[in-house]
Subunit: 105 residues, 2 copies
DNA sequence: TTGACACGTAGGAGATATCCTACCTATTGT
DNA sequence: ACAATAGGTAGGATATCTCCTACGTGTCAA
């Protein structure tokens, strides 16, 4: 139930978060993903490996392509991890709204 | 509005996530925080610096103590960042429920 | 005012991350 | 069968992380 360290570590890289974002539009082959990055493909492959090992993406072979798709379960765990912190920003928002309400007088 | 890279980088360390967890119970001095860790204090100071620069904690000097408190705003941004991924686990949960419903026949 | 306390900073060692080039494997089209 | 395509692996250079010890700074208490 606790979030695996690998998930937070995987999310620490902007390139890997960008991969996840691209996969929001559906499965994508490595070559198509690569077009969105300045790095060489082997570097992207490494990022994909990190994402795979964190359980954030999965791979399906389709002919000579490899389609990567989003696996969001670990992100749900991150969301759960955030829960105890919610009240800390809820109260901030409440204070702000109170402030705005006063302004409205 | 996008999450700063520093926030995800800060969250990548289990020690730093543990600090955030401890601060859920309220502001704490460095010495009290240190009791929960095997590392030496200078290492903890470094982690606190990373958290500070990510805007996740803030420091208040109280006599010769320094009280650290949680600053959850960046975590709200992480929560916002997660939003587009929600439907990916929502549908998973829905599918699971459908499956269970069928089992119940 | 002087010693003890609470922390931070400096600097360095070792591990890990991130990028690269070169090369290997598997699949497809001809 | 063979060249081209898609993508991974190997290995290395450099940067960054994470920990350490040693030391500096500010504050309090006697």
């Amino acid at each position: 139930m606790p979030v695996n360290d690998d998930v937070f570590a995987a999310l620490a890289s902007p390139a890997r978060r960008e991969v996840l974002k691209l996969l929001l539009d559906g499965p994508m082959a490595v070559g198509d993903l690569a077009e969105h990055f300045a790095m060489r493909r082997p570097s992207l492959s490494e990022h994909l490996r990190v994402l795979r090992e964190a359980g954030l993406v999965s791979e399906r072979r389709e002919g000579r392509h490899r389609l990567y798709s989003l696996d969001a379960d670990p992100l749900r765990e991150v969301s759960d991890w955030l829960t105890p912190y919610e009240r800390f920003w809820r109260t901030k928002l409440a204070s702000l709204r109170d402030l705005l309400d006063e302004e409205d007088l």
